[in-house]
Structures are given as structure tokens and as C-alpha cells.
Amino acid sequence: MARMHIESTINGEAREFLCDADQSMLDVLRDELGLTGTKEGCGTGDCGACSVLVDGRLVCSCLMLGAEAQGAEIETIEGIAENEKLHPLQTKFLENAALQCGICTPGIIVAAKALLEKDPNPDESKIRYWLAGNLCRCTGYDKIIRAVQDAAAEMSHPA
């Protein structure tokens, strides 16, 4: 069957790609566009490792078709840093050692950034609920929560 030709904006850049009708956005990002920062965990929307923003909305890219990206604006982990300058969330994840194996980290940073854009000062409970769809099997979450809190503090009051 003929592949579909899709045009969308990815990390601020106009991109076009070919995909199969049943190909997920996650597979398009990784296999067609070489954006392998977005990870596949479960592939069924349970773990959040593949989190991206679509038109400003946090979604699991494994539960979206590449074809659905026509005309959409997509942000992935690759769009978080400004060139060599890390986003405060990335810096604080490093400082707090909020990652071990790292598979969940891109999804958590994308999700946490979406939260801080909506609510620059979330309390711990709000952070935990917001990130409840991002599973981490290494850290036990506390370091992740602290990293997000530190990033929120720094973004509100830059040093």
C-alpha cells in the first residue's frame, strides 16, 4: 500500500515524512525522523516513556498515529535544550541524580516541562499526580520529584 505523506512541525521546524497508515507517531519519530530521544517502554500508553507534546498537549506518542500528525505541532525531548544550553529541568535531573537507566527520563522531562508551563509552582502532590503516568523502575521517584521542584524554583527565581 502507498505510504502516506505527512507534513508537521517538529520542535519548531517544518518536517515531512512518509508513514504507513498504522505506524505510530513514536515509530515515525524514531525510525523515519531519527529522533531517538523519545523512548518506547510499554507501547500501550501505560508507562509514559514516549511522552511528547502535540499542539501543546502531553500525549503518549505510542498511542497516536503518524498520520494524525498532519498539520500538528510536535515537541519532543530533542527540542527541550537550546542548542548546547540545557533546560533547568535537565540540569536539575543531573544535579539530583534523578535518573539511573535513563529510559523514562526523556518522557518525564517532557511531561514535567508541560506541567511547569501550566503551573510554575506545583506542590509535591500535584507533581506526583501529574507524573503518575510516567513509570520509573529505578529511582523510587523521590529524586525525580525533587529535581522538578528544584527546576520550578530556579525557573521562578533565576539565580
Binding site: A21, G45, G48, V54, C62, M64, A67, Q70, G133
Partner: protein, 291 residues
């Protein structure tokens, strides 16, 4: 082997024409809204290639309107969008709670309550809340439109009343009066990311502390969510005193025909659905009174 196809029609007319065309040609077709169930099903062994009709480009399916008379929630409206609508939250807090319970932030960004309804899981959280709120399905096909009450839409586990060539365009709900409020409560072992063991949706109208109208629906304790008119009848005319609440709880227990599975036994589900009925009634009443 046949392969999947994808199409995003721009109008309802085009959508129903495509549905009818596929039906006539004997080709499999499935509506795609948020995709949080459909894409998971596609990865399963039982899913056969078909045409996916994406309804997210339809203006009518994206309608989210709250007017003094009624509320319309289009089939492409995500839970996250519902959650951002202050009027909807204030009019139907119970339906919002149910919608908000479904999945993670990521799932909320795509999932729709109309999809939750079409998926027809016995444990679908939004369904008892919709039934309690008196939601009616707005169904479209090549022969026109028809309406069907939500309690008549789900006909079995994973089965809905959609006819060939027909799809769910949205839900219409009556605007509750200032004396009417709803609530939805469910039991799950965990606080997040879990599936209901039992759930109860209730909408109550109070006049001078007396219940004048009620709708009670139970979920996850039968093959489909069920409207329980006997529970509503037990509440109407009462001040929601202990006897009335116990009678309503008993009606819910009687209406339940649960199964035992890893999430709960028959006995536990039957007991808990009564408890949830009492608590949801108290919560809806407190909301009418502004608490």
C-alpha cells in the same frame, strides 16, 4: 494481506458516506477519536486491518458547548479539554470527576468520554456518570441522525448499539438546575492508574432538603453500566435520611450482577456498590447545598 488505511474526513456527510461505502463493500472500518483504546487494540493479535476514520477534523465532533438549556460534548473532545472548561466543571462535577479518573495526564490529553462509551467496557468510569447526568447519544449515519439514551447504548461487554454505517458524534446532556448536582465515586485498590472494581454515579435534585429527582447508575458490577430506577425511587421524597440511603444502597446491591476476578469478588463488589451509592448521594447533596 489487506493493510490498514487512514482517512480524516472533513465533514459529517463525508464521514457517513465513507462508513456507508465501506459497509456496502464489506470492508472493515473503525472510527478513531483519541485512539487510546483503538491503538492498543491494534497491537493485539485479534485486530484485523481496516480503515481508520479519524473524526478529529470534524467541527461538530470538536464542539464543547454549555448553554443555559443543554450541554454538548463532541466525540473528539478530550478529557483534558473538558477539564479546562469551568462552566462544565461547575455544571457537572460528577461527570468531570469520572472523566478525570481515566488514565494518566498523557491519556487525558487524547482520550474522549465518547470513546470510553463506545469501547463499552463494564468498568468504563465515565459511563455511570453519563447515565446519572441523563446523557443522550447523538448518532449520525447516511440516513440522518437519531438519539439514544446512554443507558441503552451499551448492550454488552465491548458491545454498543451502533448500527452499520453509524457513528457517535457527541453527547447531549440537560443543563442541571441550580438545585441539581452529580457525583461519581469508584473503588480502586490504588489511587491512580487503576480500573474500577465498582463505581456509582448519582445526580440529585433537592428542594428544601427534600430530594425531588434522582438518577442512580452503577458500573463495573455487571456486563454493562446500569441505571437503577429503584435506587432513585428510594431517594425521591426523602431527606436522604439513613433509611432512604440504605434502601437506595440495597437497590444498587440488588441491581448488581458482578463477577469475581483479580480485582474483587462478587461479594465484595456487591457490598461496595452499596457503600459507594450512599457516599455518592451524600456528596451530590452536599454539592447542592454548596458544601
Amino acid at each position: 494481506m489487506e493493510s490498514y488505511a487512514y482517512s480524516a474526513p472533513a465533514s459529517v456527510a463525508e464521514t457517513v458516506a465513507l462508513l456507508a461505502g465501506h459497509a456496502d463493500a464489506g470492508r472493515a472500518v473503525q472510527i478513531l477519536a483519541g485512539g487510546t483504546d483503538v491503538l492498543v487494540q491494534m497491537k493485539g493479535p485479534a485486530h484485523t486491518p481496516r480503515t481508520l476514520l479519524d473524526i478529529k477534523k470534524l467541527d461538530e465532533a470538536n464542539r464543547l458547548e454549555v448553554t443555559p438549556e443543554d450541554i454538548y460534548i463532541g466525540a473528539a473532545v478530550s478529557s483534558a479539554r473538558m477539564n479546562e472548561n469551568a462552566e462544565l466543571k461547575s455544571a457537572l462535577p460528577g461527570l468531570m470527576e469520572a472523566s478525570d479518573l481515566i488514565g494518566s495526564t498523557q491519556i487525558q490529553g487524547r482520550a474522549t468520554i465518547c470513546g470510553n462509551l463506545c469501547n463499552a467496557s463494564p468498568a468504563g468510569d465515565s459511563i455511570p456518570a453519563m447515565i446519572a447526568a441523563g446523557a443522550v447519544c447523538d448518532l449520525a449515519s447516511a440516513t440522518g441522525r437519531r438519539e439514544l439514551a446512554v443507558e441503552d447504548f451499551v448492550v454488552g461487554v465491548g458491545k454498543n448499539a451502533l448500527e452499520s454505517g453509524e457513528f457517535l458524534l457527541g453527547l447531549r446532556l440537560p443543563m442541571p438546575s441550580t438545585q441539581t448536582k452529580d457525583a461519581y465515586l469508584r473503588f480502586t485498590p490504588r489511587t491512580e492508574m487503576d480500573i474500577a472494581v465498582a463505581g456509582v454515579g448519582i445526580s440529585l435534585t433537592l428542594q428544601d432538603l427534600v430530594c425531588t429527582h434522582a438518577r442512580v447508575a452503577i458500573g463495573a458490577v455487571a456486563p454493562t453500566a446500569r441505571l437503577v430506577p429503584e435506587a432513585a425511587a428510594a431517594l425521591v421524597g426523602s431527606t436522604l435520611d439513613d433509611d432512604a440511603l440504605e434502601a437506595a444502597a440495597q437497590a444498587c446491591r440488588d441491581a448488581a450482577s458482578p463477577i469475581s476476578d483479580k480485582r474483587g469478588t462478587v461479594e465484595f463488589r456487591r457490598k461496595i456498590v452499596g457503600v459507594l451509592c450512599k457516599r455518592a448521594a451524600a456528596q451530590a447533596a452536599a454539592r447542592v447545598q454548596g458544601n
